[in-house]
C-alpha cells in the first residue's frame, strides 16, 4: 500500500506537480491530464491493487492531489467491489489453463484493468465459467454471447469500438472462434490421450467423480463436433485442414506487426493469443495441431512477446512453475520441439486390423477343433461305458 501526495501549481497555462516527500514529478496542460499522469506515475512505482485518488483546490492556481494505491482491499467486502474473474485452474505455466477462460483473462489484461483472479476447481462441466463479477454485478459466459460481449454491453470495457465495423476483422474473428476453437476442443478431448484435460479440469475432484465427468465430456464433445465411429477419420482430417488454413491466414494477416488490426489490442488479439498460448503450452508435444502452429513462427513470436509483456509482468504467485514442461518452453520460440505422431498412427491402425483379423481366425479354428474333439470323445466314452456295464453285468451273474 502506498500513499502519494503531490503539490500541484499552475503557471502560464501549465500545471506542474511535485511529490511532497519524494522525487516523483510531472507536468501537463490540464488538471485532468495531470491527474492521469500522476496516477500512472504512482502505479509505476507501486503497482499493487486498486487506486483511489482525490484532487482538491487550495487556491485557483494550486492544488493538492493524493493517490492511495492498494489501500482499500483488506476487508473482504470491499474486495468484492473490484473486478474479479473466476476461471479454471492455472497450470502449464499459464495463469489459467482452460481454453475458454484464457482469452477473457488476456482481454482484461489488455485493458489494463485491476483484476482479481479466483479459481473454481469443482465445476468442470459448467458453462457459466469464466465469469466476471464486481459486487452484485455478474457476467456469465453462457449469457448474451459471452463474457467479452457482456462487458462491452454493460460499458465496463470495450476494446473493439474502432474495429467492429471492419469486415475483415469480423470474418477473422469468426474464423478463429469457429475453426480454431473446434480444433482445440478436438485436440484436447479426442485427439490426445486426455492427460492435459484431466489435469486442467479434474485434478481437484475425487477420482470417481473426475473419471465419470471426463467420460461424459468426451462423449459430449464428440456429439458437438459430429464425430461418429464411421466418419471419425474424415472429420479429423477436415478439422486439421481447416486449422492449417486458419493459421496460414492469421500468419499472413499478422505479418511483422504486433497486433492484428490498427496496431492496437482488440478482442481478436485476445482470442488468438489465448488460443496460441494454450496450444503451445498445454497440449502435449505429440499433438498435431501444435506442430502445425509451430510452422508459423510469427504467430509464436507474437504469443511469446505479448505473454511476457501483459501476463508475466502482472502475474503474482498464482502461476505455478513446477511443471517440467514450462522450463522447456522458456527457452524461446526457436527451440520449440514437436513430435507429431499422426502418420505412424495410421499405419499402426492398419496393422492392428490385420492382426485382429488373424487372431479371430485363429480363435475360431481352435474352437472348432475343440468341439470336434469333444464330440468324438463323447462318442467313444459312451462306447467304453457300455463295455463296463456289460462287464459288471457279467460279474453279477
Amino acid at each position: 500500500m502506498g500513499v502519494f501526495t503531490f503539490v500541484c501549481r499552475e503557471s502560464a497555462d501549465e500545471w506542474t506537480a511535485k511529490q511532497l516527500s519524494g522525487e516523483l514529478e510531472t507536468s501537463a496542460g490540464s488538471t485532468y491530464e495531470l491527474q492521469r499522469k500522476l496516477v500512472q506515475v504512482a502505479l509505476s512505482s507501486d503497482s499493487s491493487g486498486a487506486v483511489q485518488s482525490s484532487f482538491s483546490y487550495i487556491t485557483p492556481s494550486s492544488a493538492v492531489f493524493q493517490v492511495v494505491v492498494g489501500g482499500a482491499s483488506v476487508d473482504g467486502n470491499e474486495e468484492r467491489e473490484n473486478l474479479t474473474l473466476v476461471a479454471r485452474k492455472p497450470c502449464f505455466g499459464l495463469p489459467t489453463a482452460c481454453p475458454t477462460c484464457l482469452p477473457v483473462y488476456v482481454y482484461l489484461r489488455f485493458a489494463h484493468l485491476p483484476l482479481n483472479l479466483e479459481f473454481n476447481l469443482i465445476h468442470p462441466d459448467s458453462d457459466q465459467i469464466p465469469f466476471v463479477e464486481s459486487g452484485n454485478y455478474v457476467a456469465y459466459n453462457n449469457e448474451r454471447g459471452g463474457v467479452i460481449w457482456s462487458l462491452k454491453e454493460d460499458g465496463i470495457v470495450d476494446l473493439d469500438s474502432d474495429v467492429r465495423g471492419i469486415p475483415e476483422w469480423v470474418s477473422t474473428k469468426a474464423m478463429v472462434e469457429s475453426w480454431l476453437a473446434d480444433a482445440v476442443m478436438y485436440e484436447l478431448w479426442v485427439g490426445s490421450d486426455g492427460k492435459s484435460a484431466y489435469k486442467i479440469y479434474y485434478s481437484d475432484l475425487p477420482w470417481p467423480i473426475g473419471k465419470i465427468l471426463y467420460l461424459k465430456q468426451v462423449r459430449a464433445v464428440k456429439q458437438l463436433l459430429g464425430i461418429t465411429s464411421e466418419n471419425a477419420e474424415r472429420r479429423e482430417e477436415e478439422i486439421y485442414r481447416r486449422s492449417t488454413s486458419a493459421y496460414g491466414a492469421l500468419s499472413s494477416r499478422l505479418g511483422e506487426e504486433s497486433f492484428f488490426f490498427e496496431n492496437r489490442p482488440t478482442s481478436l488479439d485476445a482470442v488468438v493469443l489465448g488460443h496460441v498460448l494454450f496450444t503451445l503450452h498445454a497440449l502435449p508435444e505429440t499433438s498435431l495441431l501444435r506442430s502445425k502452429l509451430l510452422d508459423h513462427t510469427n504467430l509464436v513470436k507474437f504469443a511469446e512477446s505479448h505473454k511476457a509483456e501483459y501476463i508475466d509482468a502482472n502475474s503474482s504467485a498464482s502461476v505455478p512453475e513446477s511443471d517440467p514442461s514450462t522450463s522447456a518452453s522458456r527457452r524461446g520460440p526457436s527451440q520449440w520441439s514437436s513430435k507429431p505422431k499422426s502418420k505412424p498412427k495410421r499405419e499402426k491402425t492398419e496393422e492392428e486390423k490385420k492382426f485382429r483379423r488373424r487372431t479371430k481366425y485363429f480363435l475360431v479354428t481352435q474352437l472348432v477343433a475343440v468341439l470336434v474333439f469333444l464330440s468324438l470323445l463323447g462318442g467313444s466314452n459312451d462306447a467304453e461305458v457300455e463295455l463296463e456295464d456289460d462287464d459288471d453285468a457279467l460279474n453279477y451273474d
Binding site: 469443482i122 459448467s126 457459466q128 452484485n136 454485478y137 455478474v138 475432484l205 475425487p206 467423480i209
Partner: protein, 534 residues
C-alpha cells in the same frame, strides 16, 4: 381328582400331551390366552384310553383334572426345562433365522410361567420380522425318558405373496422434512428375513427421491441388523437460496441396536444454479463434491407419546464426521446436533407443559480450516412449519417463519431486466444458512372443554419459540461475542389448535412475531403446519 403333589408326571406322562391354551371358558390368568395367534379349537389329542367309563363321567373327570392343573400352574412355581425347539412350516426361511430369534429366549425359561412369557415374546419377535403371515407356538411334552422337560414347536406360515406395496407419509431425516412416499417391498427373497424395497418419495415442495434398499435382520454372524440403501435425491432450493442440489449415493446402516445407531454415507453431490441469480457465497460453492461421512445417533425417548407428550423426557445427539476417505478432496466437516425435550403434566384437562432446546454446530476440518467456508447443504437452516414439540431432528423450526426464512442472507445478483418478479417475496436475497444454530420453545397444551373434541383428539396449545443462526466459519468467529449472539435471537409466540388425523397431524396456529431481523421472512398471522403422524 385332586392334584397330587408329585405332579411332574403330568408333563412326562406318555400319550398325554399338554394341551394348548384353552378357550376363555376357564377363569385363568390372561397371559395364557395371548400366546396363541390362531385359535385352535381342538387341540386335545386324546388317546383312546381303555377305560370302560361312561362318556359323561370321563368328561367330568377330565375337566376337574384340567382345572386342577391350571390351578397349579397359576399358583405354584412349576419348574420346567426346554429340551428342544422344533421349527415347522418354513419352506424358504432359513432355520437359523428363526432359531436365532426365539431360542435364547425359550432356553432361558426355568418355570412354566417364565416359559409362557418367553413364548409370548418369541411370538412377538417373529411377528416383527414382517415375513410371516401367522406364527404359532405350541408347548409340548418332552421325550418320555426325560421328566420335567418340554418341547416347543414353532409353526410359521410364510406369506404367499412376497410383494407388497405401500403409500404413506413419513418423516425423512435425510431430506429434513416429511414426504409422501410410495414403495414396493419384496420380503424374504433369500430366506434370511431380508427385505428389499424400492421407493419414490416426494417431499413438501422441494425434494424428490428415488431409492432402493435392503435390510436383513440377522445375517450369519452379524449381531445387529444390516441395512443398505442406494438413492438419487434432488432438492430444489431455487426460491430460497438459488441453488439446486442433487445427490447420488449409498448409505449403509452399520450398527442399529437400542439407543445407538451408526451409519455410513457415501454420495456424490452436485450443486447447480440454473437461474443464474445466486449470491456470492452460493456461486463459490456450486460444483461437485464427494461426501463420505460417518453418522452416529444416540436417542432416548421416554415420553409417553411422540405426538402429544404429556410426561417424560427425550434426548437425541447426532454426530456426523465427513471426509474420512484418505482422499483429501472429499468434503471435510464435523456436525453435531443436540435435542432435549421435557414434558411436565399439569393435572387438569390433560394439560402439559413441554419445553425443549435444540442446538447444532458445523465446522470444517483439515488444513486451513479456519478460512474455509462450511458446505452449503451441511449448514443449518431455520424456518418452516414443523412443530418443535414432535420433531426431534435438530434446530430447524421456529414457528411463524417461512421455510429457510431466518438467518444470514446475502443479496443476489443484480437483474438487468427487473420487471415485476414472478416471486414477489423473493426480494433478491439468498438465505445462506449458519454454522451455529440454537432454538428453544415452551408449549402449553390442553384439551378443549367440548367432549367431541376430546374424543377426536383435537386439542389446543399456546407456545413461544425463539431461535438464532450465526456464521462462524471464514474467520467470522473472531467477531463473535455473547452480546451479539444474544441480540441475534428471533422470537415468536402464538396459540393454535392441533388436529391429529390418521394420515397426518395438522396444526392451525396464529403466530405473532416478537422479534425478527432485517431480511427474515416472518409473518404474523394464521398458519397451517403439517407433520407426519409417526
Amino acid at each position: 381328582m385332586p392334584a397330587s403333589p408329585d405332579s411332574y408326571p403330568h408333563f412326562g406322562q406318555p400319550g398325554k400331551p399338554i394341551p394348548n391354551i384353552p378357550t376363555p371358558e376357564s377363569d385363568d390368568p390372561e397371559d395364557f390366552v395371548e400366546i396363541e395367534e390362531e385359535e385352535e379349537t381342538d387341540d386335545f389329542e386324546e388317546e383312546e384310553e381303555p377305560e370302560p367309563m361312561i362318556p359323561d363321567a370321563q368328561m367330568h373327570m377330565d375337566r376337574t383334572r384340567m382345572e386342577a392343573l391350571f390351578q397349579r400352574l397359576s399358583s405354584e412355581r412349576v419348574p420346567v426345562r426346554v429340551h428342544d425347539v422344533i421349527i415347522k412350516g418354513n419352506t424358504k426361511t432359513k432355520n437359523s433365522l428363526i432359531q436365532s430369534e426365539v431360542e435364547d429366549l425359550l432356553k432361558k425359561a426355568t418355570t412354566f410361567q417364565q416359559l409362557l412369557r418367553a413364548a409370548g415374546h418369541a411370538n412377538a419377535r417373529l411377528q416383527r420380522l414382517d415375513i410371516f403371515e401367522s406364527v404359532n407356538i405350541t408347548l409340548d411334552t418332552g421325550p418320555p425318558e426325560l421328566p420335567g422337560t418340554a418341547n416347543v414347536i414353532v409353526e410359521v406360515s410364510e406369506s404367499t405373496n412376497p410383494l407388497t406395496g405401500d403409500i404413506g407419509l413419513f418423516s425423512k431425516p435425510k431430506a429434513r422434512s416429511w414426504s409422501l412416499e410410495g414403495s414396493l417391498k419384496l420380503k424374504n427373497l433369500f430366506g434370511y428375513g431380508d427385505l428389499w424395497d424400492t421407493s419414490v418419495a416426494y417431499g413438501w415442495g422441494q425434494a424428490s427421491e428415488v431409492s432402493a434398499g435392503f435390510s436383513v435382520p440377522k445375517f450369519k454372524a452379524f449381531p445387529t441388523p444390516l441395512t443398505a440403501r442406494i438413492s438419487l435425491l434432488s432438492q430444489d432450493w431455487l426460491k430460497f437460496s438459488s441453488y439446486k442440489e442433487r445427490a447420488f449415493g449409498t448409505s449403509l446402516g452399520l450398527v442399529s441396536s437400542g439407543n445407538h445407531n451408526l451409519s455410513y454415507d457415501l454420495s456424490w453431490r452436485t450443486l447447480t444454479d440454473p437461474s443464474q441469480m445466486s449470491s456470492h457465497t452460493v456461486r463459490r460453492q456450486l460444483g461437485h463434491g464427494l461426501l463420505s461421512a460417518l453418522k452416529y445417533t444416540f436417542k432416548i425417548d421416554r415420553r409417553d407419546s411422540p405426538l402429544r407428550p404429556t410426561r417424560g423426557h427425550a434426548f437425541v445427539s447426532t454426530t456426523q464426521i465427513g471426509g474420512l476417505l484418505p482422499d483429501f478432496r472429499s468434503l471435510r466437516f464435523i456436525r453435531q446436533e443436540f435435542d432435549l425435550r421435557y414434558a411436565v403434566p399439569l393435572g387438569f384437562y390433560r394439560a402439559a407443559l413441554n419445553v425443549g432446546i435444540s442446538s447444532g454446530v458445523v465446522f470444517p476440518w483439515g488444513s486451513g480450516f479456519l478460512n474455509t467456508p462450511s458446505q452449503l447443504p451441511e449448514r443449518f437452516f431455520m424456518g418452516g412449519n414443523s412443530s418443535p414439540v414432535c420433531t426431534l431432528g435438530g434446530p430447524t423450526s421456529v414457528l411463524g417463519f417461512k421455510a429457510r426464512g431466518l438467518g444470514p442472507a446475502e443479496t443476489r445478483r443484480n437483474a438487468e431486466e427487473n420487471l415485476n418478479d414472478e416471486s414477489s417475496d423473493s426480494s433478491g436475497m439468498d438465505f445462506i444458512g449458519g454454522d451455529l444454530a440454537v432454538t428453544a420453545f415452551a408449549d402449553f397444551s390442553f384439551d378443549l372443554p367440548l367432549r367431541m373434541f376430546r374424543e377426536a383428539g383435537i386439542h389446543a396449545h399456546a407456545f413461544a419459540c425463539t431461535g438464532s443462526l450465526t456464521k462462524l466459519t471464514e474467520n467470522a468467529h473472531r467477531e463473535f461475542s455473547f452480546q451479539k449472539f444474544r441480540e441475534s435471537f428471533r422470537s415468536s409466540a402464538g396459540f393454535g389448535i392441533i388436529v391429529p388425523t390418521k394420515l397426518f397431524r395438522m396444526e392451525v396456529n396464529y403466530c405473532y412475531i416478537l422479534k425478527q431481523q432485517e431480511h427474515d421472512r416472518g409473518k404474523t398471522g394464521v398458519q397451517f403446519s403439517f407433520s407426519s403422524p409417526l
